[in-house]
Amino acid sequence: MRGAFRVWQRNVTIFRKFWISGLFPNFIEPLIYLAALGLGLGTFIQQGGISGQSYVEYIAPGLLASNAMFAASFESTFNTFVKLRFDKIYDAIITTPVNAEDVVVGEYLWAGTRAALYGTGFLAMLIALGTVFGEPLITSWWALFIPPMLLVIGIMFSVLGTLFTSLISHIDLFAYYFTLVVTPLFLFSGIFFPVENFPSPVPQVAWFTPLYHAVNVCRELATGPSPAVFVDVAWILVFTGVLALIPIQIMRRRLIG
């Protein structure tokens, strides 16, 4: 674990140099969705339309979850691939006492950290916007648990992204991952509309996908959770724990002949 921490630390060192340039797109993107859909589309949705919440209030917590997914996904796909294939950073690291498995775990932790950092910033902005416009978007103190949950959600999507990265040989193939995995998750995980209203088997399928549970957790924590939140948290932990071992094995085989 010490090796994983060193890899995490390397990423922190570099992040501290470039965090401002990465900050802007990470904040702007969820805000664009919030403005376009929340205010634009939301105008056509009558008050109390979804679970007694305004549309902006409904989608805001879900965007926290998807923002964590995007942050961790970019980190574990493009960034990891560049370090693996082009810059050969991992080849250099594994000649030190840091082993291949430490590298992968360090990257999981880092992607989670980055998701949590930017997500916390976005959460603060949601609170500020709610205060300014007199219509709170985050209504429960349970929201204090959102940042640590974003860390876990980030790690989950890092595991998923690293799995894809460990299997591909060309950077262009990430287009498949984003088009066929990330975008459908973004649209069909209950951020913009409840998937439960869809005919079977959409809700059932959604239950087996990771962002659905991440959105549930964030929404519950933003509004005050019901006991059902434990099912979502447990789902995330089990999914992450089980899947995490696979990229470690594949990456080890890629790095060590």
Binding site: K88, T96, I256, G257
Partner: protein, 321 residues
Amino acid sequence: MNTKNERNTETRSGESTLVARDLRKAYGHFEAVKGVDFNIFGGECFGFLGPNGAGKTTTMKMIYGAVIPTGGELSVASLDVYRNEREIKRRIGVVPQENNLDDELEVRENLLIYGRYYDLPKKTVLQRTDELLDFVQLSDKVDAKVEQLSGGMKRRLLIARALINDPEIVVLDEPSTGLDPQARHLVWDRLRALTAEGKTLVLTTHYMEEAARLCDRLVIMEGGRIIAGGTPKDLIEEHVSPQVLEFRASPDVLERLLTLVEPLADAVERTGDEVLLIYTEDADTLVARVQESDVEVENTVYRQAGLEDVFLRLTGRSLIE
């Protein structure tokens, strides 16, 4: 050459630190290393000489844990590679063939962050970083970005990075490939300084000159096997005659020359279409005989035999293709 041989006798008394027995590596049906044996002593500079694809890099990677052998035994710093991966890596330094410096970090940070991977105390890393940048003559580049460095500077930074943990063994995979002559000499100079400090160097190269200048002992690899080994001097004495004549002429002239000198020379090698290498104990007599004959040669070079000749003799082909 003399001082080197003196040092040689000293270090030979050192104990074996790197030992391979029937070491093998196969990738599917392709065997990159087909059972090699070597014994490297503490404090010596040991070279693996051979053309590209000979299995040198695979052997180096087995030493530093980036490739797991498929057969045989290998111990590094007297530790078994199958069981002591992390401890071995703690005690060696690696200069890879391909530059893998961290481009997103500055020169100094590359060393500082690398030092953290070894869990070294911050104070130690800071102190060594300054010393090492001074050692590789990059002190005026501490804050430069890696991408701004020349090829030679990058290689020197890789050498400094490999020394951050004060390793007992330094593994260098083609340390001077792709460098211009000045940069190469500077690298050689630094590597000699390391052996003078008592570090064990293990390096690969396909430059005879590099092997001859740096290595106390070396092995010649070809096709995944070690085909010869010893000190540069022993290898030359054992495998080729001391004097070499290089004749350059058109192919048909060479044919006639070949028939003329073959009975007189110890050995004759033809490289390419237009060069004939003649190995002999007595070059003067041979030259005289060629001059007496009616064979007209354009260009004759007389020189002492070197490792290139050993390689040519053993494999029938030139080292650099």
